[in-house]
């Protein structure tokens, strides 16, 4: 059964249309990540689910019951806020116990529950401290503890890690994912960070301008994006987009680059492309699908391209190399020692089985 069902939801702030007709169903126990750039409506959507904002149109059902008219406290949700939202005048213990006390939990149940939640998050030694005595990572753990101590149907996270430094963020990411596995509860997590979305989600809901652009399992979105927007949003470094023309080459089809070079298309990629012959399309290729061509290798689907490397960004095991593909600047993810210096000429191999082709008129993937 779906724990959350949203139907035709709209939300306005004055004249701004923040959520434009969202339909969404989230099955029980799933970890769903709402992701998108700032201003895409993801936080508004989450706050509307929580009841902190009123829905202007559409319905929100939690556990099968419409909750549009219910105040947040009656929606059976728990929420973690971006800025921790801990009460500075209460000790950590009281902060975690706050929700239990507000709901008149029997006194003798409060302490064991708080202690168990604190142990789960490794903050049981901090219960006697005030929030001002804690570090950012500890504060975030307390904030999460305050949510998980209650047994709610839905757990909502509003960009909970965006105030932490990179290392802590990695640590908390796996912590939250572990919590999800332990508790088995339905969680909805908002972030603008595509890495967080990819690594944590059972399902990603990618939002753009208040609408759902695409929803699905992380790898589905990554490998089979529905639009140029999705393809460009997921993955780091971002996908390269190159304007090309579909042309006939021999008995098959190829893509002609701006500099006249041809990239042959493997048979599997020719489906539906015949009628696009002599038309412009956009080629989308991920940096990791461009590698250094091995000597004499002629594997099917590999297109060779001689490039001059303009810029190198070593990351350790891999090196990002910038070069001109056709007339467009592109990035390839090479092995660390494939290239030594900018200006070097190198033979690259593009894996044409993995590229996507986009209709420039609609920006949809063909």
């Amino acid at each position: 059964m779906a724990d959350l069902r949203i139907t035709a939801l709209h939300k306005y702030y004055g004249s701004m249309h923040a959520v434009r007709g969202v339909d969404l169903e989230i099955p029980a126990g799933e970890f769903t990540v709402l992701v998108g750039p700032s201003g895409c409506g993801k936080s508004t959507l989450l706050r509307t689910i929580a009841g902190l904002e009123d829905a202007d149109q559409g319905t929100i059902e939690i556990g099968g019951a419409v909750v549009n008219h219910l105040p947040p406290r009656n929606r059976d949700i728990a929420m973690v806020f971006q800025n921790y939202a801990l009460y500075p005048f209460m000790k950590v213990f009281d902060n975690i116990a706050f929700g239990l006390r507000s709901r008149n939990t029997p006194k003798d149940e409060i302490e064991p529950k708080v202690k168990r939640a604190a142990q789960m998050l490794a903050i049981d030694h901090l219960l006697d401290r005030y929030p001002r005595e804690l570090s950012g990572g500890q504060l975030q753990r307390v904030a999460i503890g305050r949510a998980v101590v209650r047994s709610a149907r839905l757990y909502l996270f509003d960009e909970p890690l965006s105030n932490l430094d990179a290392q802590l963020r990695d640590e908390m990411r796996s912590e939250i994912k572990r919590l999800h596995q332990e508790l088995g509860k339905t969680m909805i997590y908002v972030t603008h960070d595509q890495v967080e979305a990819m690594t944590m989600a059972d399902r990603i809901v990618l939002l753009r301008d208040g609408k759902i652009e695409q929803a699905g399992a992380p790898l589905d979105l990554f490998e089979r994006p529905a639009s140029r927007y999705v393809a460009g949003f997921l993955g780091s470094p971002a996908m390269n987009f190159i304007d090309v023309q579909v042309v006939a080459a021999g008995d098959g089809l190829a893509l002609r680059l701006g500099d006249g070079n041809l990239l042959a298309l493997p048979p599997a990629r020719r489906v539906n492309l015949a009628e696009r012959r002599d038309q412009a399309v956009v080629l989308g290729v991920r940096p990791e699908h461009i590698g250094r061509a091995a000597q004499g290798e002629m594997r099917a689907g590999l297109a060779r391209y001689g490039a001059v490397i303009e810029l190198l960004q070593p990351t350790g095991s891999r090196t990002y190399a910038t070069f001109n593909l056709g007339a467009t600047r592109a990035v390839a993810e090479l092995q660390a020692h494939d290239v030594s210096a900018p200006g070097q000429k190198i033979e690259l191999a593009i894996d044409m089985n993995r590229v996507i082709l986009i209709d420039p008129a609609t920006n949809k993937v063909l």
Binding site: A50, G51, L52, P71, P72, R73, I77, A78, M79, F81, Q82, N83, Y84, A85, L86, Y87, P88, F89, F98, G99, S102, R103, P131, R132, L139, R146, R150
Partner: protein, 277 residues
């Protein structure tokens, strides 16, 4: 040539001397007031003046308590306490409404605080006529209501500022955690504003305590406050300096006590706010 250490010591010494001189200057009238209240009539009029009484003499106070004049201090306490409590309660919830629900749009708050700028003398006589009509002259309720009304704009204005400083996420978190709006105000907003609550109530209390013009017009004998009572000791023929000073001391002491008692919370509240999560 002075060494750096010597120069530093000299500068510190000069600062201390200046501070002590200023303190003496400000403390002297209060010292004099206290001393007069313990003097005998002869000592009060002695020339050259006597810097301190021959012995601690409580006769001046005894007279005030025997004649029942001291009850006016009790009246002041009652009206100041209840009008402060009422103004703080009503003002805080009004301020919450202004701060969080934008009640009355952007300018209502400014309009409200402008009400505080009305000179008391301009409204006191119309209010007197109104009170005669309602039978509120010389009653606790009458004075308390007026002080409350006069203090409300100030409380609303101050508390609105403090409430705006409370991060909204704290309230939202409490709403999700199971609180109603009223519980959010009581359990989260007011504790967050504790420093502001204390500071604002001190000012509100002091206004009611020090008020003279309203009390003069609106009280007779039943609920006359100590400020009104003191004026009775200024006579056409002579001024009763002993009573004036003793009554003034009685009127000053509660303010000392209130401020000293509240200061503990005051300082704690400020330091709490300064390092919030």
């Amino acid at each position: 040539m002075m060494t750096l250490g010597q120069r530093r010591a000299l500068r510190l010494g000069l600062r201390l001397a200046a501070a002590i001189a200023l303190t003496l200057l400000f403390m002297f009238p209060i010292y004099w007031l206290f001393m007069i209240s313990f003097k005998t009539p002869d000592e009060i009029y002695a020339f050259p003046p006597k810097w301190y009484p021959g012995q601690l003499n409580f006769d001046n106070y005894a007279v005030l308590f025997k004649d029942g004049d001291a009850t006016t201090v009790g009246n002041s306490l009652i009206v100041a306490f209840f009008s402060t409590a009422l103004a703080m309660f009503l003002g805080s919830i009004c301020a919450y409404s202004l701060a969080r629900f934008q009640t009355g749009g952007q300018h209502l708050a400014n309009w409200i605080v402008s009400q505080r700028m009305i000179p008391p003398i301009a409204v006191v006589f119309p209010i007197f006529l109104l009170y005669v009509w309602f039978g509120l002259v010389d009653t606790y309720i009458g004075v308390i209501l007026l002080y409350t009304a006069f203090n409300l704009p100030y409380v609303i204005w101050m508390m609105r500022g403090y409430i705006l400083d409370v991060p909204q996420a704290l309230e939202e978190s409490a709403l999700v955690d199971g609180c109603t709006r009223w519980q959010v105000i009581w359990k989260v907003v007011l504790p967050m504003c504790r420093a502001g609550l204390v500071a604002t109530s001190i000012f509100t209390f002091v206004f009611a305590w020090n008020d003279f013009i309203f009390a003069l017009v609106l009280t007779r004998t039943e609920v006359a406050t100590y400020t009104v009572q003191i004026t009775h000791y200024f006579g056409g023929q002579s001024n009763f300096w002993a009573k004036i000073s003793a009554m003034s001391v009685l009127g000053t002491l509660p303010i000392f006590v209130v401020t000293a008692f509240m200061q503990r919370y005051f300082v704690r509240g400020i330091s709490l706010g300064a390092v919030k999560g």
